[in-house]
Amino acid sequence: MTQLFFLLVALAGLGTFTWIIVRRVQPLLHAAPDPRFNDIPRRIQLVLKLWLAQWRQPRYLLAGVLHIVVFFGFLILAARSTELVILGIVPDFSLHLGRWYDITKEIAGLAVLAAVVILAIRRAFFRPARYTGHTTEALLVLGMIATLMVSELVYSRTGSLAAYTIHDITFFTFLCFLPMGKHFHVITSLFNVFFMRLRPGNVKPVKYGVTDLDSLPSLGVKKFEDFTWKHILDFYSCADCGRCSDRCPANRVKRPLSPRNISIKCREAAFAQYPIVGVRQAPSPVVGAGQGQAGAPVLHEDEIWSCTTCGACEEECPIGIEYIDKIVDLRRGMVDDGLVPQSLQKPMSALEKRGNPWGKLEKNRAAWAAKMDVKLVEKGETAETLYFVDSMTSYDDRMQKIAQATARVLAKASVDFAVIGKDEKDSGHDVRRFGEEMLFEALKEQNAEAIRSSEAKKIVVSDPHALNALRNDYDGMPPVQHISEVIAENVNKLTFKPLDSAKTYTYHDPCYLGRHNNTYDAPRTAIDCIPGLKRVEMKGNCRDRSFCCGGGGLMLFYEPEEEQRMGVVRVRQAADAGADVIVTACPFCLTNIEDAIKVAGLEGKMEAIDLVELVDQQT
């Protein structure tokens, strides 16, 4: 009789679970294509590292360690749970797991129980700021886990039918509850990591498999099914841990953006539109101006424009959820519908007509080199290396000094180089990331043609945005290096003068040099070559945890709602680290940081300099 009962419990539990999963898969089947079966060895490697070894969890130490305990406890207890479920139906069933397993699972059960108690206390009483909601849900799940652990321990010792029944029913309730919210990640994270983004820096194409954009009736994400299936899997997988938002510079300065909330709002929209029971609901628009009322868009325009694409969120997510591609796809949808903030329309129009966002004359693009001995492709000169300057460094009065310093440092390192001149256009890096794919394509084609006809074998840039565009967005370019890499490779050819200053220096990692292109050491190597220079790190906010200066490219023109500038936060981090000078390696970082020094009232106490300017001074 009890066997029949437990058979029915198991059938009902598994049946319900299967039904829920089938329903949850529906949006993925209606979503945009996304080929993610390439490079399987790398994907398996990521699963072993991020999923099995929980690689990113200890970045938040206490939560991370507790999660690891629960995660491994679950893995260990999975066999015992399977055994238990069958045992209720088939008397005396055993998986013959052995004595060592019994000891291991006892320890695992107790460890999980202890971790769950600590997690519950932490959730209820010492909640970190990054946990903004879902406390009831979290406590309910912790309660279920504790019940599973205790009932298993009791049953194993006493053979109590009541304990078994509680375990059996809790087990299936827990299983069916997982896909209802943030604990879906228990099931999906393995897949989410396996299918995660492999190519950093790059942005997904508008639509996989489509090269002729004119043939598409609509660009970007406008309705829910315009997201790719992987992006919807991301929404399902978000554990609401809030690490992305905790590291998000836009969130820190109170711009209306929290990456975690994008996942959660979109997950809720998916659940509402594709309910477990009943017919598909009419979709809400994905992005737009209104918020709050029924039928309002899921996401707000300002939320989507607030992102600097710095990548801090993706670097932090323990299970490989991606945001930049979604943000770019959402922007593509808005651009296609003409919903572009007024502050961005003029620079976009000037980029279309003049190839730079200020509408400056093409013939003045290399004006910074007027009094220098620099080869110009526009004059028919050629060289093995091409210095691609990009708009900011070509035209901005202050940033032209970076171009001049770069030219001098290249000469000191005996690099034979040329500059394109008037036929160089903006790299389009941020045009693309602001969703104007057609304009990006136009700029890319013009630059690719100019670069090809220059016959250069290598490219050097001083702007990490140009680096990322030429290396990761363009196809078939010669190898591209950032000037910091060139300096680090050529330190033997450069004679460094000792620094005659007692100031303390710190290095600010530009997002598109560090996180997106994994270049952390070359700039530090270059700085450390200067005798007598004292360098400190902004601990906790350096390397892959660098804090964005405020963003480059079109972000310079965007007028966000924010409580303070990201640059000000960054400058204070440098001051807290004991630095007097911030060295960076990006013209946008330098602009934002120099402005922020003024805004923070630190003029005279803090200064900023580009790496290449510093090296030029000291060689």
């Binding site: 954009l213 003409g338 919903l339 961005l344 129009s349 003049r354 200020w358 509408g359 304009l439 009232g601």
Partner: protein
């Protein structure tokens, strides 16, 4: 509602470095790029929004050389239903009155309920809207920053008054309104939008088609005789001090001059 919007192709100061030519009669034009006059772009957006609310059609018309077709298409990509290009060497050098006469002829080719112009052009004198209304014998309101429907034959409009004050008027249709920037947020038009309307026909009209013989340089009664950038005069006060001191001084000056209270 049938709406005609008059648009002009101008060298946009945001996309050009404007300087005066050596003979002092014009700006240097060799390196210029052109776009639609900013005020006109707001007028087209407003017309599109009215039609989205009430139904009807938006027609854009531009007088210029063949290059002006580019901006007619851009406004069609925004959502204008039709475009008309008026081009004739005989119209070159028209003064404001000449331009208004040509536009009047264009307006009379169909039955419009409303004509919108920009309040002014980057390179203009802010006179065409009013003259066009007078030639048509229609009512006219300038510097309009709000348009609502009051009843079948009346619009309720807001006008921006010097000092940022607001005035509300009722105006009978058909009428001419000159549109101030800021009335709306014009939608973005990119390369893709323009490509979508590339195959649409834009009819081209000349003086014969319009029956206008009294426009152009010969008929102009206002003639430009000089063009220069004013010399930087004395009177500019350079503030000095730290950022905070500078901010305090600027606030003090703005208060003293009545700009802020």
């Amino acid at each position: 509602m049938e709406i005609l919007v008059c648009v002009k192709r101008v060298p946009d100061s945001a996309e050009n470095e404007i300087s005066v030519s050596s003979d002092g009669r014009d700006i240097k034009r060799e390196d210029l790029v052109y776009s639609v006059n900013e005020w006109d772009n707001y007028a087209v957006e407003e017309a599109i929004q009215i039609v989205e609310r009430e139904g009807g059609n938006v027609t854009v018309v531009s007088i210029g050389d063949a290059g002006a077709e580019e901006i007619v298409r851009r406004e069609m990509a925004m959502g204008a239903n039709q475009g008309v290009l008026i081009t004739d060497p005989a119209f070159e050098g028209s003064d404001g009155l000449g331009t208004a006469k040509v536009l009047k002829a264009a307006a009379n080719r169909a039955k419009y309920d409303l004509i919108l112009t920009g309040a002014q052009a980057d390179d203009g004198a802010g006179q065409v809207g009013g003259m066009l209304a007078a030639l048509l014998d229609w009512p006219y309101a300038s510097l309009v920053n709000r348009i609502e429907r009051k009843d079948d034959a009346t619009l309720r409009i807001g006008r921006e008054i010097e000092g940022g004050n607001q005035e509300i008027n009722d105006i009978d249709t058909p009428c001419v309104l000159s549109i101030q920037t800021g009335i709306n947020e014009p939608r973005y038009v990119g390369i893709r939008g323009i490509r979508k309307v590339a195959s649409l026909e834009v009819p081209v009209l000349d003086s014969a088609a319009l029956g206008v013989n009294d426009a152009g340089a010969a008929a102009a009664k206002v003639r430009r005789v000089d063009y220069f950038v004013p010399e930087l005069g004395a009177g500019a006060e350079m503030l000095e001090g730290s950022t905070e001191e500078l901010a305090d001084k600027v606030v003090g000056l703005l208060k003293a001059k009545g700009a802020i209270k």
